[in-house]
Symmetry: C2
Subunit: 354 residues, 2 copies
């Protein structure tokens, strides 16, 4: 299904067209606890759908005692939860793989942390009466198109147990305002801790099913796959990662950094979808030192870190890596897989200090 | 100064990195009169600066009777103007040129229309007492970096006459909210009708000068240049353009469109920085028909157009082109220039009707 190219072949025009539609967060955006709207990364598989909120309804169907049809007002009148959540695209880091899959060509910037407001999915499901034979819930968005010649609505499923986590929301606000069209207006799923493909946007249907869902985005896409024959393991939780705000000033074209000598405060963020981040290290030419780690912004949001680097003029290579409470640490060698998923390779870049 | 590559060479990784920082507007965003924040195109030459609004000041200096230092509250307490304005990057369409300049690799999506609120620049300048010898005003942003090995703050100038146009604003709000960081917080220049490089973001200084400004972004960049020796003509007003919302549904990777046969309503927008748009035509396989043109959203904002296409199954090529009141019409052959500026070549793309 996937097509591999080497880095030596350069970038294709279809990759470029995807990059300019589906943008990343400028890494200096990590200075904000909460990412301003418009800086948060976006991945839109097809087109942004045009939805009239007044006639829009969410249908809850399938293996339930009582099917439901809810208006946006119905959903907004339910108990609300507001939480900061860090999201990351499962393909973040894809262009760091060699060879890479031809798909959304992310560097490292497919990240963002927003304050989401919504109502707990579990509460709605409980109100419907889930039948005992139910195993998963399938979420359908209003976006439709082709991927590898398969025409489909964007759909993903989630096990019942995950759906009942209190922080799994049907979200209608982002940073205190109604969802912007590009982030899923009027309603999206939000699954903290999981890569972004799970948090289905432009929700129109929720179906409780008694068999595992086998749609394209579940069984063909978003798999950790060794080769074309390998069905692969499903992509789920966000792998541990730290990123650094590139210090100093950039060159427009190359983004190469120039830094003033002295005490340079290096800053960044770290997060993991499986357990808290317990350490961040900064590497200077391969020598690692502990950074100071702050409390995370919220349970499912990134934490900030800093490190004061006393440095004289010269050429250096900077890097950073995080470790989580489960002992996961970012790899120095690429975690290669055919679709370019979950590549949390250590960030490393050159700087000139003057 | 500029480096040219052919389309056959593909895209470079440094171009890709720029595309994911500096994003375009998804073309389906043309369905909105006013572009939602986060969908509007962005071009950030260096990094988004970190600015503390409470200590920030705007200085007005140079050939004036009274220099000024203004806080954000000072500026917000002045008479306010709110206007919708369409902005476009001067480099929009660059990757449609062959060979192209290595710079921000825009397709066609470097556009957006926002409602801007600010105070007239002319009022502030008049309050300072511009001296007779003044010819231009130089605007300096807080963003700094290198371009072609030249280190500089981002700076552009504007003739005094343009500065006095009542719709040229020092803007502090976008779509009714404080400017987002990436759009110039806390204050930016806004010059309706001109390409976006003129509307300097993160303003920190305004200097009235008695000689034409010769900074990098004025005399080296943003020139219609034939070859490396040609000093070129300055880029200024937006050239006439129409764009179409790609109809039907897309393929994820290629963005290739599939449309249902029948009466297909094609829609889009058209604008020109020099005079009103007076006509839009839709081309089907090279046969042109007049589209219906609506009034523009505002004097300096785009207008919408539509065309009902009765079509049966088959393969087609769709295009559109606009004409303005000065008789300017979009060209069918590229308006080639070395920096890839102002390329308003007709948009054309294939669709499959089923």
């Amino acid at each position: 299904m996937t097509e591999l190219v080497s880095r030596a072949q350069g970038v294709r025009f279809d990759e470029l067209a995807l990059a300019t539609r589906n943008h990343g967060m400028q890494l200096e955006g990590m200075r904000y606890d909460i990412t301003p709207i418009g800086m948060h990364y976006l991945l839109i598989h097809f087109d942004i759908p045009e939805i009239d909120a007044s006639s829009w309804r969410l249908r809850v169907t399938g293996n339930v005692e009582r099917e439901l049809e809810l208006s946006l007002d119905d959903i907004r009148s339910r108990p609300a939860t507001t939480i900061p959540v860090t999201l990351e695209c499962a393909g973040n880091g894809r262009t760091g793989m060699d060879p890479r899959n031809i798909s959304q060509p992310w560097g490292l910037e497919a990240i963002g942390t927003a304050v989401w407001t919504g109502t707990a999915l579990g509460g709605i499901l409980d109100g419907c009466g889930i039948r005992d034979e139910a195993v998963e819930v399938v979420f359908t968005g209003a976006d439709r198109g082709f991927q590898y010649n398969v025409e489909h609505d964007y759909q993903r499923s989630l096990p019942i147990g995950e759906c009942r986590r209190p922080e799994v929301l049907l979200a209608y606000e982002m940073n205190g305002t109604p969802l912007p069209p590009q982030h899923g207006f009027p309603l999206r799923l939000l699954v903290p801790g999981w890569y972004g493909m799970t948090s289905v946007k432009w929700l129109r249907n929720i179906e409780v099913v008694d068999q595992p869902f086998t749609g394209f985005q579940q069984t063909a896409a978003y798999r950790y796959q060794r080769d074309a024959e390998d069905p692969g393991l499903p992509v789920s939780r966000i792998r541990v990662r730290a990123l650094m705000i590139p210090p100093g000033i950039p060159d427009f074209q190359s983004r190469r950094r120039t830094v003033e000598a002295g005490a340079v405060v290096l800053r960044g963020r770290a997060w993991s979808g499986t357990s808290p981040v317990v350490g961040v290290e900064v590497g200077v030419d391969g020598v690692w030192r502990d950074a100071q780690l702050d409390r995370s912004v919220a349970e499912f949001a990134w934490c900030s870190w800093s490190y004061t680097w006393d440095v004289g003029p010269g050429e250096y290579r900077l890097s950073c890596r995080a470790t989580d409470a489960d002992g996961n640490v970012q790899p120095a060698e690429q975690f290669w897989n055919r679709q370019g998923m979950g590549n949390n390779l250590i960030q490393e870049f050159p700087v000139t200090v003057r």
